[in-house]
């Protein structure tokens, strides 16, 4: 259980980010360290300007999926950002922005939400990942 869980977040839609946040919180609750590496559209969703906005859903959600997700939110489900904040409070969760994606999106560190701990390259990500699983979402 000491090897970290390593999540690479690529997609920036709210459903995938919610799934990733739940995986993170569960691992953090068990005392498993979690490394989150933000690339592309996931990184875009973690900017100060956009974190609180509606990021849409994956295409397979369709209209019925949209209705289901909205119903859960209305019933009080915490947002993915809030779930990640709670996970950080509970355990060891390190969230890093991919430096290539920072360049791609033209972002500075000051553009990122405080949930993001820093910026690193892919090599640092792999070194921190150790022997733990890498999950791409």
């Amino acid at each position: 259980m000491d090897e970290p869980l390593n999540l690479v977040l690529f997609s920036g839609t709210d459903d995938k980010l919610q799934a990733a946040a739940v995986l993170t919180a569960g691992a953090a609750a068990l005392g498993k360290p979690v490394n989150v590496f933000l690339q592309y559209w996931a990184l875009d969703a973690f900017t100060r300007a956009k974190i609180g906005l509606d990021h849409g859903l994956a295409p397979e959600a369709g209209e019925a999926g949209r209705t289901a997700v909205d119903a859960l939110a209305k019933a009080g489900q915490a947002s993915w950002a809030e779930t990640l904040r709670q996970a950080k409070d509970l355990g060891t969760v390190d969230i890093q922005a991919c430096s290539l994606s920072m360049d791609l999106l033209g972002l500075e560190e000051s553009d990122l939400d405080p949930l993001v701990d820093g910026v690193e390259g892919v090599t640092a990500f792999y070194l921190n990942a150790g022997e733990g699983h890498v999950v791409f979402i």
């Binding site: 919180a25 569960g26 609750a29 068990l30 859960l72 489900q77 915490a78 709670q86 509970l90």
Partner: protein
């Protein structure tokens, strides 16, 4: 365990309406603040809690007193051991 054998509950955490893994996270926070020997009850309407919380309790080295099905929710009672 029969209902009559439940020890007095020191803290009740009402996590009804919270979704997975919210009730477990509330329990972990509650356990941090509790004293060793305290008995904590978690109320959860999340269907995963009655599976997840006992597994966490075992791993964390606490004592699961019982899982009880109530009307519209489950009540999971745990003793803080360490």
């Amino acid at each position: 365990m029969t209902e009559t054998a439940i020890p007095p509950i020191d803290v009740t955490l009402d996590a009804r309406g919270s979704f997975c893994p919210g009730p477990l996270m509330e329990l972990i926070r509650g356990m941090r603040e509790a004293e060793v020997g305290d008995v904590i009850a978690v109320l959860s309407s999340d269907k995963g809690s009655k599976a997840d919380i006992p597994k966490w309790v075992e791993k964390a080295g606490h004592n699961l007193i019982g899982v009880f099905t109530r009307e519209g929710h489950d009540e999971i009672i745990v003793e803080k051991v360490r």
